[in-house]
């Protein structure tokens, strides 16, 4: 364990956290405002990745691909809300879980149909495909720093929109009192639809910016969805601030656990036992964290004020 | 009787009265939510077999008071004693087993079960020994008989096999009373049992409560003044979280302070 490695893994953890935040933000809003469990949210992350990868391969420009994909995923979210989701708001959680579980199968198969089973890979533009020297200690990929910056910018923007604007006020009010928002003369269904589509776009954006690193592949949505759920449950459902803090905690703990847990455990138990157990435990670490937090705070770190 | 003689008589009867007669004692109870004082140093008591009504305008803190007596809310100060035993910090289900039963202001029955099963649950709760996994509950004769008896008492005997979800509002309230009495409580806390009822239903409910009275001690929270004056042995008046008067119905009717603070506004 040296300083350089710790710094690199710290940044990797933050990068994972930022990515988780992009997925968790939409999830927690839809969850908090509409009391809707959306398992298919991860599918939109996957769709974002595939749109972006496919467009980059065809148009030869990563930036243009992102600019086209963003409204693309927004429209997908909008249409899905219109066709299926809005019929489920007044249903119980069991129905919501099942129906969106069905949507995952639909999305995965559609992607399989359109882009084949193999997934899509592409390379980054040269401008961002290098490494940068950090404080003379170590080097770090420029693109990963860009991901962190983009994620932090989105978080800041979301914070400002929700905290400072009229739309944000309505969104917050909608979370605590739907009837009142309706009485203000706001079309609550329309508000919901735009919130849902925006959440979809944020998740899609997450998929787009990670696609050059991991490739776009079927199943990527489900993997991140489960951790995003852990995030919003730790953070407290409906809380953007909670989602942000929990994303960083989960990202850091997961990354650090995977890289340093075996070394730490070797200090306590013998080497072979540590090498066998460490991968299993580090894979479970975020779930253990969630269980521990829920044991002491059954509503998460920043529980919703109403309800 | 001159005041001194009254005091002397009270002192003479006090020890005996405390031992045998006093069911619920609320002593200097205090609860605040943020800056709002919901229960302001309330003291009152319910004697065995007595119907003690608590009246007061909306927002006077009546439901908050009941919730502290059942254990759903923790008081910030003061004490609650049941038959001489302090229960201030005891969890709800343990109080229930000591004999505290309640009905809810907002009707609260188990809608996915039948009417009989609702009451059966109450009987079971009183009987204990519910970790029985094999024998059908409906074949436990004594339990089912007790449940039927409770339903008969509130006039729901005919509807035993109906789903609780299908009952009317008035019938739901009757079912609540049946569930509350089926646990054979020592103390019954009734939170606005007549709320949302029509004239006819209210009269029926007064009749039902009259058949129960004399058994458990009853703390009755109610808005309907006719019902309160028809049922109560004593009345406490709660205004802004504090008890401003506690006396017999006749005395309360003529109490100038109560008139000013409460009845006058009505």
């Amino acid at each position: 364990m040296d300083g350089a490695l710790i710094l690199v893994q710290l940044l990797n953890g933050i990068q994972l956290g930022v990515l988780l935040f992009l997925v968790a933000a939409g999830l927690t809003l839809v969850f908090g405002i509409m009391d809707f469990v959306n398992l298919a949210h991860g599918a939109l992350y996957m769709i974002g990745a595939f749109f972006c990868a496919w467009l980059t391969l065809n148009l030869d420009s990563f930036v243009v691909a992102i600019l086209i994909s963003l409204p693309g995923v927004f429209i997908v979210g909008y249409v899905v809300e219109l066709l299926v989701i809005r019929h489920l708001y007044h249903r119980n959680h069991l129905d919501q879980v099942l129906a969106t579980f069905g949507l995952i199968l639909v999305f995965d198969t559609i992607v399989h149909l359109v882009w084949g089973p193999a997934g899509l890979t592409f390379t980054l533009p040269d401008a961002v495909n290098g490494r940068i020297n950090l404080f003379g200690i170590t080097e770090f990929p420029v693109y990963r720093l860009l991901i962190i910056a983009a994620g932090l910018l989105v978080a800041l923007g979301l914070y400002l929109v929700i905290g400072r604007t009229r739309i944000g006020m309505l969104v917050r009010a909608g979370a605590s009192n739907r009837v009142m928002v309706g009485a203000l003369g706001v079309d609550i269904n329309k508000l919901f639809r735009y919130v849902f589509a925006t959440g979809a776009m944020l998740a899609g954006f997450g998929g787009m910016i990670i696609a050059p690193i991991t490739e776009a592949r079927i199943g990527m949505g489900s993997d991140i969805l489960l951790i995003a759920f852990v995030v919003i449950i730790i953070g407290g459902i409906g809380s953007i601030r909670g989602a942000f803090i929990a994303s960083l905690i989960v990202g850091l703990i997961d990354t650090m656990g995977r890289s340093f847990l075996d070394d730490l455990m070797k200090l306590v138990i013998n080497e072979t036992a540590a090498e066998t157990a460490a991968p299993a435990i580090s894979a479970m670490l975020v779930y253990i964290l969630m269980a521990a937090i829920l044991y002491f705070r059954p509503q998460g770190l920043f529980p919703p004020k109403v309800r | 009787m001159p005041p001194v003689a009254v005091a002397a008589a009270q002192i003479a009867t006090l020890p005996a009265g405390r031992d045998t007669d006093m069911l619920l004692e609320v002593i200097d109870l205090y609860k605040a939510f943020g800056g709002v004082v919901a229960t302001n140093h309330v003291s009152l008591e319910v004697r065995e077999g007595e119907v003690h009504a608590v009246i007061g305008p909306n927002g006077a803190g009546k439901t908050t008071l009941v919730s502290q007596l059942t254990g759903e809310l923790r008081p910030d100060g003061g004490r609650v004693r049941l038959a001489g035993r302090t229960i201030t910090r005891m969890p709800t289900h343990r109080r229930a087993r000591l004999g505290v039963a309640r009905s809810f202001q907002i009707t609260s029955v188990v809608n996915n079960l039948s009417v009989l099963e609702n009451v059966l649950l109450a009987v079971q709760a009183h009987a204990g020994h519910n970790f029985r996994f094999w024998r059908p509950a409906l074949r436990c004769r004594d339990l089912v008989d007790a449940a039927h008896a409770s339903l008969q008492r509130v006039g729901l005997g005919e509807l035993a096999d109906r789903s609780a979800a299908d009952l009317s509002h008035g019938e739901h309230r009757q079912l609540e009373i049946a569930m509350a009495t089926a646990t054979q409580p020592r103390l019954l806390l009734l939170d606005e049992p007549m709320a949302g009822m029509g004239r006819e239903e209210t009269v029926r409910m007064v009749d039902i409560l009259n058949t129960i009275r004399g058994g458990p001690g009853i703390l009755l929270i109610e808005h309907d003044m006719d019902a309160v004056f028809a049922l109560a042995d004593r009345i406490s008046v709660l205004v802004n979280g504090a008890v401003i008067a506690c006396d017999t119905p006749d005395a309360i009717r003529n109490n100038a302070q109560v008139k000013a603070a409460y009845l006058g506004e009505d």
């Binding site: 995965d108 489960l226 759920f229 894979a283 269980a291 | 188990v110 970790f131």
Partner: protein
């Protein structure tokens, strides 16, 4: 839910009796028609039915939406595989292990899960199942991702090994019948009345003086052990286990089987499992992209199919009479 729907009488009672009789006759049919694959298909449905019936106890009757039930299926199967890895094929030992491991796992996780409500409960049960999944993925000793081959079926001191498929099939069927009987008795018992009551109005039961947490925890443990036994059968049936068996997708499928058949009805989950397996078999023979139609079907069932197959049969019967 009223009492009538809980007794085996009525149209659904007849469906249950007819289905069970048909299941008894499946092995002679497969031998006569020389269709061993059909026996495998039905056996898989029977085993998953046991899991679905056990999930229905917590989900349908108890209102606890567990999204991690497949973990018990996996644990049960590993209780065949891991002893087998060390050359232990003693069925009694394996079953005791299933009861112990599933029981303890359900007890410990239940203590945490049941403190939470609603969505939190769904997600934390999912999280615990994922923990088991990742643990088995990471344990290279027992095959990790690739899984573990089981070379022999369980042996019993008196009856010998469950060698051939037909014997195993009847064992599975017997366990299914026993599970149905047990669940039927449990939900109608005093304990079961409390469990059904907590699904409707937990707070009311507490104010009646019932410590509902304990009841729900015990129910959760019973269901976990039942599903573990289904897993033990599954291990014996497939003779191969991998973490894939407890993937969260499997848990979602189990929920779907229960809801498709009718949550909170005794035999509904068996019908649901049967329909699920039939559909999967039919669609996957018809196109590689069968999951697309399957997903659409799922969404439609949720949107329009209230009460599942159980409710549908009752509706049919009511309309005719």
């Amino acid at each position: 839910m009223n009492l009538k729907s809980l007794s085996p009488a009525g149209p659904n009672g007849w469906v249950m009796v007819i289905t069970l009789v048909a299941l008894v006759l499946v092995p002679p049919y497969t031998v006569l028609a020389n269709e061993p694959f059909f026996l495998d298909l039905v056996m898989r449905a029977v085993i998953l039915s046991i899991a679905a019936v056990s999930l229905n106890l917590v989900l349908g009757y108890g209102g606890m939406i567990s999204f991690g039930h497949a973990a018990y299926l996996g644990i049960g199967a590993y209780c065949v595989g891991i002893p087998g890895y060390y050359g232990i094929y003693d069925g009694v030992f394996q079953l005791l292990l299933v009861v112990a491991v599933c029981g303890v796992f359900a007890l410990v996780t239940g203590l945490v899960c049941l403190r939470t409500r609603g969505v939190y409960f769904i997600m934390i049960t999912l999280a615990f199942a994922q923990m088991v999944f990742y643990a088995m993925v990471s344990l290279d000793e027992y095959g990790g991702d690739d899984g573990l081959v089981i070379y022999e079926r369980s042996r019993f001191p008196l009856g010998g090994a469950i060698g051939d498929s037909i014997t195993l099939y009847y064992v599975c069927l017997a366990v299914l019948v026993a599970t149905l009987l047990l669940v039927h008795r449990i939900v109608n018992s005093r304990f079961g009345l409390v469990i059904r009551g907590t699904a409707g109005n937990d707070a009311r039961l507490q104010s009646l003086g019932l410590p509902t947490f304990r009841y729900r925890l015990i129910c959760y443990v019973i269901a976990g052990i039942m599903c573990g036994i289904a897993g033990w059968l599954l291990g014996n049936f497939t003779l191969f286990i991998s973490p894939e068996m407890m993937n969260w997708i499997r848990s979602g499928e189990l929920i779907f089987m229960v809801v498709l058949g009718g949550a909170g009805s005794l035999f509904g989950p068996v019908l649901g499992t049967g329909a699920f397996i039939t559909l999967e078999e039919f669609l996957s023979g018809f196109t590689v992209y069968w999951q697309l139609y399957f997903g659409i079907f799922l969404v439609l069932v949720v949107l329009f199919g209230r009460g599942g197959l159980h409710g549908f049969i009752e509706w049919l019967f009511r309309r005719r009479s």
